[in-house]
Symmetry: C2
Subunit: 333 residues, 2 copies
DNA sequence: TGCGTCAGGTTTACCGGTAACGTAGCCTAG
DNA sequence: CTAGGCTACGTTACCGGTAAACCTGACGCA
């Protein structure tokens, strides 16, 4: 807590005023080289640690605190986004305040309410589904906000992402081209995950238009990991064995599904096709490269951070940034 | 930034003093039920958002900011630790300030220097290797510090983790019991990752004592992911084909290694054994369950948060908490 | 009647910076 | 030689809370 020296102490020891010390330490102007050297030396000797609490409070804005809220901390994809954001922001001296909302708009609102109290310079949120209370809060806070992952044409402020609906639609088209006609879907988190739901919608819509609608779907209430994929496929096939391809909520679940298929002696892709989403590293090195949609997660984080910083610097940034996704044909679809 | 209403505004509108509003809103005592209801109603009507910057500054301590520094944000394991910490802390109203140090003690110091300026209530650091500057900084800040992952018998303050040396030693013993005699090692990050190095040391020491020292090692300068495991094993085997088991830096690399082995037609575990470390979910559902050391990552996060909170509440917590690890025999070793 | 006590407040003094403004001394151009 | 400008500072006020000290009227009670 109380770190010994403050500006006053340095000022006294260096024989100047507090204000001069403040100017020197922040690299401003209006002091001689001589004064600067003296102040810097004294500050170092006293082990001065600035008090940002005071600085931010005095200036009525935190200046360097950025809040970021993700659905889950345990997803590999979010880790990469976080990494992209952190690299871009920490280089510029910003601090990252993070939280998880567990795919709940209400938890997100609660988190934002806490974080807004710190007067952050900006916020990065996941998804485009927010409570009315959240929107009010953000509007009155007047801090820059970037919504990431799911593209929205009318963002609260800025938006970085892509269309999940289109991802699903594109995968649907691809699998139809590969001759698949009886598709199933294995998801997770039920309706909590709006983005996964959008992919499913896009997928289903495309298949239906082509006259081969989704044959079966299994949406678990579990976290979308390997286990859920494994058991999800088991359940799906027990209900509806005659499927020629299964689209999974994400790559982790798809890999779990592949493990199940192999354990049942089903050949992939001959007996059953498997497709995922997300583009996790493991998926590209498995014995058979997974058919999936690769999302450039780090790019999302980087773009979000850059959009935020541009806004903070008063530069006119883009309101909506589209980050490309790429359908990786792979060998399992 | 400027959120409209402050205590003064509420005070005026409710016909009481600022101080009374402060007490009501913080749930203190010294006001009538009548006053309380009035104040709460007014605060709500004005959409009051407390200013923690001011509160923390005024009280000369942040109260609810906790800093956490991890080596990399992109590791699946750290995501789980983060999750454990976040769950435990957010429930108690703390905010998490995170950063990555890229396995560099200098970057860690730089990060701490930034974060200390916010006068955090506590800090969670990874590993036990810190610069002298860091130690000074922490001592003068006098904030509770928890070092996680690698157990140290003389922590700066508190420590939660286990011995990486012992993990390596245990795996060495296990592989010897399975009859392995010509072991190799594939690691990453060179000497930057002290913990991985400790596992290697423990592994090597055990093998040497048994008279079957490590035959070859390959330590990449890459991030320890699937690709690094794949190419690491390729390189290792090209130099020294006659290995009967390979110990990997972590599970991700081990899975990459398995992929390489399969691509070369090597049977696991008949032709070559593979062992990992960490216990990632994928490893337990692969066609053959990976031989590895399972680390209860979420437990580390939870324990770290709890130790911190205990200290903050003035309770006498344990200085050193040992989190168990479990050698998972698997089917690949 | 006088006094202590307590609920239910109010007042005051900070916390450590920063913005805005003031000013002394010196230089330079007209 | 003097107005105006620049450099290098110093002064003052304020950000929005909180702790601590201080009031005040009502009530109980000897």
């Amino acid at each position: 807590m109380s770190v010994k020296a403050n500006l006053e102490d340095i000022a006294k020891a260096a024989g100047v005023s507090k204000m001069t010390v403040s100017r020197v330490l922040r690299g401003g102007t209006g002091f001689s080289r001589d004064t600067k050297d003296r102040v810097v030396k004294v500050a170092e000797r006293l082990g001065y640690v600035p008090n940002r609490l005071a600085a931010a409070f005095g200036a009525d804005q935190s200046g360097t605190l950025v809040g970021m809220c993700v659905p889950r901390l345990t997803s590999g994809l979010f880790g990469h986004v976080l990494d992209g954001v952190d690299r871009a922001l920490s280089r510029l001296g910003y601090q990252l305040l993070i939280g998880a909302n567990n795919h709940s708009a209400d938890e997100e609102e609660a988190w934002i309410r806490q974080v807004i109290a710190w007067r952050p310079a900006g916020l990065i949120l996941s998804g485009r589904t927010h409570t009315p209370g959240t929107v009010d809060l953000l509007r009155s806070a007047a801090a820059p906000v970037v919504e990431i992952w799911d593209l929205t044409t009318s963002p609260i402020d800025m938006s970085v992402g892509f269309s999940h609906f289109d991802c699903g639609a594109e995968m649907g088209q691809f699998l139809l081209r590969r001759g698949r006609r009886r598709a199933g879907y294995v998801g997770a988190l039920a309706r909590a995950d709006v983005m996964g739901a959008a992919r499913l919608e896009g997928f289903d819509a495309t298949l239906s238009r082509a006259g081969h609608p989704l044959v079966a779907r299994e949406i678990l209430h579990d976290t979308p990991g390997f286990y859920a994929g494994y058991y999800g496929l088991e359940t799906l096939l027990s209900r509806q064995p005659a499927l020629d391809v299964v689209y999974f909520h994400n790559d982790e679940m798809a890999i779990g599904g592949m493990a199940y298929a192999q354990s049942r002696g089903l050949r992939v892709p001959e007996d059953i096709g498997i497709a995922g989403w997300g583009g996790m590293e493991a998926a590209s090195i498995l014995p058979r490269r997974l058919t999936t949609t690769v999302v450039t997660t780090t790019a999302i984080g980087k773009a979000a951070a850059e959009a935020l910083v541009a806004r903070l610097k008063g530069e006119a940034g883009q309101d909506v940034t589209v980050v490309p996704t790429r359908l990786e044909p792979g060998a399992t679809g």
